[in-house]
Amino acid sequence: MKKSILLLPFIALCLASVAASAQTDTDSRFMRPFKEEFNASSPQFFSGGTAPRIFCGVPSFSEKGTEVMLMRINPSDPAGAGRGPEIATPKSTHFGTYSARIRVPDVKKAQPNVGAVVGYFTYRYTRGFGLSEIDFEWLIADPRLIYIGTWTSDPNNVNNLQRVGRTINLATGQILYTNYRSYHDGNRNHNFDSSDDAALSPRTIAPVDGYDASKCFYVYGFDWYPDRLTWWIEHPETQEKIILWDYQGTTPHFSGIPQPPTTYLLNFWHTKDWSVDTNPRSTEAPKYPYGLEIDWMKYEPYDAINIEWRENNNW
């Protein structure tokens, strides 16, 4: 009897471990949790980038002792998303926590009207499920501003797009706007109803003193659940997580939260028609191969949620 009592905790531990392993995602189509440190001469968990646009395992230009990936835009790159340097995971990612430590180039004096975008994001279109895109973006002409949001689409037509988004000046804490638009009514911007807490939370954001995405590295991230998406930044001194947008809303025609699996990416590209909100002239092609630094990128999947979603959606 005494022996049996002693064995009980051991049995409980074994059962718990069996239960946990049942929730570990073993689907080979998907990335396992990783932290890409960019310490070697090529990325371990990403593909797509080579010299002379991407240099891995090189010392940072702004922080001693930090090895980074340097990504350089080329002045001859054509305008358009994804037409500059880009890295992507070779396998799918899905619901989970995504984070990265990034410093965008400081071009404010050299070329204040440059039209260039740094995108830290997920993206994939799957016929029958639609587009699955979640974004952090910076227009480097004004690196005090952060653009966050999602793109989804008609399940069978990637050109029928739907957007929810928020733009923040984090140096002042000002939320410039939180809105949505879709193909259902001609892609006109709409503000969320002012009483819609699920779509507008938080309503105020404390400024991060001196925030400028080009001055130093910051850790950015988002937590993606089937019914909730939270974008955040770590305060550079306290490491406190500052919530930029905790979206659980919906719109008349779509929820705005992507559902299908996706791909994890980072890119740097020239835009000729998307100017930063504070400077309508910022659409010039880059005049020098400006360099973006990425210290690391991380992915922590929510295995149980992902397994359940695939079972329910016959994926």
Binding site: A51, P52, P59, Y290
Partner: protein, 277 residues
Amino acid sequence: MERYLLLILVYFLCAFSCTRPVPVPEPVPPEPVIPPEPVEPPEPSHKEVNLMSAFTEDFSSRETENFSFYSVVPEKDFHYYSGFPSLTETGKTILLLRANPADDGGDNGGAIISTRDYVHYGSYSARIRMPDVGAVQPKAALFADFSLRDDDPVFGFDEFTLEFRVADKNNLYSRVSRRGPDAGENPSVQESVLTPSSSFNAASKFYVYGMDWTQDKVTWWLQTSSSSEKTILYEWTENIPSEPLKLEFRLYHDKANPALYPYELEIDWIKYTPSAI
């Protein structure tokens, strides 16, 4: 009578003794002690320095054997990246020099690399690519100097330089500066514009630039292709420095029109071959 004579004698004796004092010899001042002249060491006729042997620095690692990198605050210095992959030529490892918009400016206020010891008559060459700033900042006052140079309290200042004015990518400049040991003296400076060819563009690719220093001539040259043929850019035959100097490379701006972005200059290698003399 005798008594009178005696009195007269005493009178004269007294009178003479009062009017003509016995001269006392003047005190003789002591001979001044003259300290011995300080014995100045003879002016050296040559710089007493260590001379470097022949080397080719290929910047393949993060440390270099032959050069020192000048930094005011090393932990905050982002000018020098040895062992960095070339930004423009895949597979090469280079020394990346970055301009810093916050630099003080002037040739002592930017990036400076210098040989650890002195060099002398011989041949110097380097494979270099300038950043292309023509579109973004065509009037940038950004300079890159490939020099033999030294400022010595006894022998004065000597410099001969092949200068790149980075925004003027089609031309090169030669400069010879000499000044005596008096620091107040203005150096004599002679500059020339060198236009290698109508198609020359220092930012379009790596070129090999060189200097040959002999007792009676300094020659700047350029290798425009992979062949070893040299195009002579300039020859200087007057007042040639005869003392050892240091081989240096500087990247700096003029604060009046500073670099607005940390433009990157690439050096593939630097080579020194001393002459036999």
